[in-house]
Symmetry: D2
Subunit: 153 residues, 4 copies
Amino acid sequence: MVPVKPSRRDLQALAERSAKALYDPDRASQALGMRITSIAPQRCTVSMTVRADMTNGHAICHGGIIFTLADSAFAFACNSEGEATVAATGSIDFLAAAREGDTLVAAAHERWRGGRSGIYEVTITNQVGATIALFRGRSHRVGNRSSTTQDPS
Amino acid sequence: MVPVKPSRRDLQALAERSAKALYDPDRASQALGMRITSIAPQRCTVSMTVRADMTNGHAICHGGIIFTLADSAFAFACNSEGEATVAATGSIDFLAAAREGDTLVAAAHERWRGGRSGIYEVTITNQVGATIALFRGRSHRVGNRSSTTQDPS
Amino acid sequence: MVPVKPSRRDLQALAERSAKALYDPDRASQALGMRITSIAPQRCTVSMTVRADMTNGHAICHGGIIFTLADSAFAFACNSEGEATVAATGSIDFLAAAREGDTLVAAAHERWRGGRSGIYEVTITNQVGATIALFRGRSHRVGNRSSTTQDPS
Amino acid sequence: MVPVKPSRRDLQALAERSAKALYDPDRASQALGMRITSIAPQRCTVSMTVRADMTNGHAICHGGIIFTLADSAFAFACNSEGEATVAATGSIDFLAAAREGDTLVAAAHERWRGGRSGIYEVTITNQVGATIALFRGRSHRVGNRSSTTQDPS
């Protein structure tokens, strides 16, 4: 049988199904109140409102929680083709403080792909558009390539 | 008045007071069940047990939560002299998965200090001693140097 | 006297002068055969051909030389306003090998600026457009802000 | 035939042979005047004197050349078991300037190993012991595992 190249519509549907399949059991992202606000092949946007229980001893949002938001957006983006893919590394520059009540948005997109590896960048902004942090992550695919074109129906 | 160099005992007492002062209002670290298990000048160890609500869609501990544990240990270590110090950057290599029920320990120590900047390394291990992740962070002191030798009594 | 906002043309002229002033005494970049192929405010492109004396024991271009190319492009971009600015950190992902005879291009641009710090990204590609490496650097301005609008004539 | 665990002496001899085999054709490290000053399994020290043609437009050693020194030490350390291993990522914090005439030493050691990956740290100091930079790299083994215990005689 001749393999058929998936259409853009197929890929978008796959990205949506993959994000849902990954988000539904993701108790950490849910516990932190994260919402996927957009999803597309190799791209994802996640938002989160900073709660009192996310602040640290300096009374600002804990840097780890900001990293976690970026890491979730990265995860949904790099798993958007339906293959299990995990983070190998992540690095973040903290540029401005976020405070209780701020709504943060993490926008992730793929910068490069080769073999089982990918590089993703995530920009984290607040409700007035200020850049809070910049994240870069390297992904490693652990699942089976063939599942990309798998028809789940 | 001639300044007196603080003794090792003074510095240890300052580290303990500083950690307590930073931990008490740190709602994020507390909400994640983190406990400071040791503190000394420029060093800190923090432990955390992976709960169900810390797992992601791959049924392993969310990488962001592991980063958050490392970042907290880093924060207590780099604030151990009583001056407000924040993270400028952090990078992490994820080396092995952590699972629900695992107890993770993040051990942070200073690698370098110069001016207002410091470099800290954090090793995250699990209950059987396997290395889960390696973290490196750069700190930036925002507070007043003079507070180092401040007597709070 | 009322300060006058520099025009786009002024800023472009300043970027060109600044790049020349930084490149002329830059013996390292010259010894490696680097050429500035474009310069603009906060942006720079530098090219370099991989010579035999840039290869390592695996017979590919030494990763440090690729980093050096990226770092030079970063330097010209972050010094494009005429203020002395140095690199505080740099990180690179090596994605594909470069070989003797390849012509590499490093394209740097600013991602963020705040206070004395900036974040720059550099993409390194070869003569057929393949991505060889991705670099991110954090800059620290050490010079005087006022020099930005200084008229050197 | 029962495999025999190599002795410490065998491993040291293998490290020395591997370093020589990698250094001899490494034209980049040689062109920069690097000398391997110690080698052991998973560890290596490399020294280099900063020449005029290694300085940048700020009249200090080009950060890329410091990275290159660290990267070479990393390479000799991570190839010390005779298997072809390359750098996947590298990150560096520049902490103090190096100047023409300074002799820099890069000391690399393995921090972690798992599967085909390793994490190495490199400390770069000058002739008076000041820390110039801290480097961390992730290695990826591309060669054949069996070659570790291969007797080349």
